[in-house]
């Protein structure tokens, strides 16, 4: 009998542990998941204020500006329909350049600028982040006849 009770305690402890971990995981996933929004969605006001999310698109040609300190960079990101200005302080990834698809993580400021904590450009020059690819396609099929042709073959 004693043995059985011990076994029950053990099972209860494990169950409590697993339940705790599950609760922890669900809470953590709720707090830490990052949604992706395209420039068009941001324009439409779908993106949250004062909350982290990700934005992606193509870097607009001739839009890259550097502040005098040399480290703060501003550039526009487009889904060929709308653009949003991204500000980032730090060193950009190797593959960052005009016309390249990028994804940035950060928050929207009151002036409507996206203040990025991190800018990602993937490690292959032909590679297009799937979110960006989809955002471009959605924008293109959004009914605009004069949608800019994608420059990626």
């Amino acid at each position: 009998m004693r043995r059985r009770r011990q076994r029950m305690v053990l099972v209860a402890l494990i169950l409590a542990g697993v339940t705790g971990a599950t609760a922890l995981a669900i809470a953590a996933i709720g707090q830490n998941m990052l949604y992706f929004f395209s420039p068009t969605q941001i324009k439409a006001g779908e993106a949250p204020q004062a909350h982290n999310f990700r934005v992606g698109g193509l870097v607009v040609a001739n839009s890259i500006q550097r502040d005098p300190d040399g480290l703060t960079v501003r550039f526009d990101v487009t889904d060929n329909l709308n653009t949003v200005t991204v500000a980032y302080r730090g060193i950009l990834p190797d593959l960052f350049r005009e016309g390249q698809g990028i994804v940035a993580r950060g928050q929207l400021s009151h002036e409507g600028q996206f203040v990025a904590e991190e800018v990602l450009a993937k490690h292959d020059e032909n590679y297009m982040p799937p979110e960006v690819h989809e955002a471009l396609q959605t924008a293109e099929s959004g009914g605009r006849m004069n949608a800019v042709a994608e420059d990626n073959p």
């Binding site: 494990i14 922890l24 707090q31 830490n32 990052l34 060193i91 490690h123 799937p130």
Partner: protein, 666 residues
């Protein structure tokens, strides 16, 4: 001609895999000796053919045969020979070929080292491995033939991704694959056992060394990958919770759980069903990892070309393998389980807790990895789950694990008295708390509760591990004889546990005490960081074999004395005109100085990233110790005894007596 030969060899290998996967299993089922006897020769023949195919592909790379599409996409006439060779596994098709080769290699190893197993059992094991091989070879022949020709033949190749042109990448994939695929061995042992319908202590003794070796390779592979990311990606990070990293990390956690579970099964003849289930899960997660990496569903450094057909094939294969394995488990497990009694406080229950924590950790990582895919496929929005989630979940799970790790080796099997255990651990606990408090309180470095906990746990693990060894000497008369009487397995365990302590120190200090700064530096300019002065002497052009580089020169001083001269580079590979940051590191046991070039800002000025990273080496030193510990444990004498055919056959017949004898020896 050579590539066609390779393709042909691959087809022959596939036929051999069919033979190896079907006949021995049928033979074992019907008790036909002749059919069972086919298993070993078929496995060896398959290995030979896959090796020929691999050699043909390697030859095509070394001979710069750009008429082969895969070679043209991943090599260039200027690429150095060593990278032309490692380019064989630089992309999708070739890495599958490497996978198949390693699987065959493991099968042959089983045929060599398990000759003493009963024929029926070993032919089942080899048969199951043959079936796995059938799946992979079919995948390769059907969707990813590395020998496909490219017409017209291009004048030159597109070159290997510059990121992969690195010594770390020459060995990282083979190591990782050895581990991934190595888990196919315990998996096949588990399936063979279920097919046979009985599970005895001998099973665990056969499975343990294989699991250990696979885990060792996985450990080294993951650590190498982390090290490579650290120095090559130019961000100074060592773990990103990237989905592909997770894909290798989950099998590692499960394999570790399996190693601990098998310890219970072997010594106490219990937890059998759970061992079998872990063996199945371990390999299933390896396959899932392959699916995630190869199907292109993931956004990752590692994601190769996207091809829906490939994804569907692997998903089907995954479903078939895991599904049939679990069905078989559900059907047969009642035959193999047997309950052994143990108390609430005993080594069994501590190891059970270890297994629960490791499995839950693997499950939460799986959740974080698959959840975004699930939401996306249901059109519920595009999300990503980043490091904050994994850190928030994983670290709280690992802290109790590391704490219990200190208790486990000092606890008796079956039944332990709380008071006795308490008095045994009192001193260790006191020392850990005091030492951690002193380290945090007396040094000037800014620190937090987490740092104190991390350092305290490291001291705790180290002290208790040494205490467990010391305890073995207490009763011995002759020290030397006592030392020799301690099984190698015990030393292996201690080494691996010390590795955990080293790793914890590294993670705690590197993640809390690192200093990082992005600065603009003009030639002659300087920046002070964590007591080190970085002087920038400008940038000059240099040439490499297949790239040209802007090379910066930075001298680092501490209190006026030169510590290191660093040469970070920004490389351009003309064939793939993407720049590549090559960080420069001054490594040290207690700190790394890390410098990476950003962009030119005009007038010779550059943006430069400077890091001071204390104890970051310990992050890889820890896994190295774990791997060495695993090897030492796997070379334990009693696993080698298995090779002695007669003896093992006899042992197989009397598992219970053996279990008792082992206990007596403890």
């Amino acid at each position: 001609m050579i590539p066609e030969l390779g393709h042909f060899a691959l087809i022959l290998a596939f036929c051999m895999a069919l033979v190896q996967g079907i006949l021995p299993l049928v033979g074992a089922h019907r008790g036909q000796l002749a059919w069972m006897g086919i298993a070993f020769p078929a496995a060896r023949a398959q290995f030979l053919f896959v090796a020929i195919a691999f050699a043909c592909l390697a030859y095509a790379f070394l001979a710069k045969d750009f008429s082969v599409a895969y070679v043209a996409q991943n090599a260039n006439s200027l690429l150095p020979a060593i990278y032309r060779f490692s380019a064989v596994w630089g992309a999708h098709e070739g890495s599958l070929l490497l996978w198949a080769l390693i699987l065959c290699g493991w099968t042959v190893a089983v045929t060599v080292f398990s000759r003493s197993l009963p024929l029926e059992f070993s032919s089942r094991v080899v048969g199951v491995m043959g079936l796995v091989s059938v799946g992979f070879l079919l995948f390769m022949l059907g969707t990813s033939n590395p020998f496909e020709r490219l017409l017209p033949m291009p004048a030159d190749g597109r070159d290997l991704n510059p990121l992969l042109q690195d010594p770390g990448l020459v060995i990282h994939p083979p190591m990782l694959y050895m581990g991934y695929v190595g888990l196919a061995v315990p998996f096949s042992f588990a399936i063979a056992t279920l097919l046979e319908g009985r599970l005895d202590a001998a099973w665990t003794r056969w499975t343990r060394p294989w699991t250990l070796i696979a885990w060792v390779f996985l450990t080294l592979g993951i650590a190498l990958g982390s090290w490579w990311a650290y120095y090559e990606l130019g961000w100074g990070g060592w773990w990103f919770w990237d989905p592909v990293e997770n894909a290798s990390f989950m099998p590692w956690l499960i394999a570790m759980a399996l190693i601990h579970c098998l310890a219970v099964t072997e010594k106490r003849n219990t937890f059998k069903g759970w061992s079998v289930l872990l063996a199945i899960f371990g390999f299933s997660l390896s396959l899932l990892g392959t699916f995630l990496v190869r199907s292109g569903v993931l956004v990752s450094v590692h994601a190769f070309a996207t091809d829906p057909a490939r994804g569907v094939f692997i998903l089907t294969f995954l479903g078939l393998t895991v599904g049939s394995a679990l069905l078989l488990y559900a059907w047969r497990v009642s035959n193999v389980t047997r309950r052994g009694g143990f108390d609430l406080l005993s080594r069994e229950s501590l190891l059970l807790t270890n297994n629960v924590l490791l499995s839950v950790a693997a499950a939460t990582i799986l959740l974080g990895t698959l959840y975004p895919l699930l939401l996306d496929s249901l059109n519920l929005g595009k999300i990503s789950v980043g490091p904050p989630y994994f850190n928030a979940v994983f670290i709280p799970l690992m802290m109790p694990l590391v704490f219990l790790l200190g208790i486990g080796p000092l606890t008796r099997w079956k039944k332990e008295r709380f008071k006795v255990l308490g008095s045994r651990l009192k001193l260790a606990f006191l020392i850990s708390v005091l030492l951690a408090g002193a380290l945090v309180g007396l040094t000037a470095i800014p620190s937090s509760l987490m740092v104190a906990i991390g350092l305290g746990l490291a001291v705790w693990v180290t002290y208790t591990a040494l205490q467990a060894i010391a305890a073995r000497f207490r009763y011995g008369q002759d020290r030397w004889r006592t030392l020799r009487a301690i099984p190698l397995e015990f030393f292996g365990m201690t080494l691996a546990h010390l590795g955990v302590a080293v790793f914890v120190v590294g993670v705690t200090l590197a993640s809390s005490q690192s200093v990082e700064q992005d600065v603009r530096l003009e030639p002659g300019g300087a920046q002070t960081l964590a007591g080190y002065e970085f002087r920038f002497d400008g940038v000059a052009e240099t040439m490499g074999p297949n790239y040209r580089a802007q090379q910066g020169e930075i001298r680092v001083f501490r209190s006026g004395e030169l510590v290191a001269t660093l040469f970070p580079q920004k490389r351009i590979y003309p064939v793939q005109p993407q720049p590549m940051t090559e960080a420069a590191i001054d490594p040290g046991l207690t700190r790394d100085l890390y410098v990476a070039l950003g962009e030119p800002l005009g007038d010779g000025a550059w943006s430069v990233r400077l890091y001071y990273k204390p104890f970051v080496r310990w992050i890889w030193l820890g896994p190295l110790l774990m791997a060495i510990g695993g090897l030492v444990a796997a070379s334990d004498r009693r696993y080698r005894l298995i090779k002695q055919a007669r003896r093992a056959a006899v042992l197989d017949k009397m598992p219970n007596e053996l279990g008792l004898a082992r206990e007596g020896a403890q």
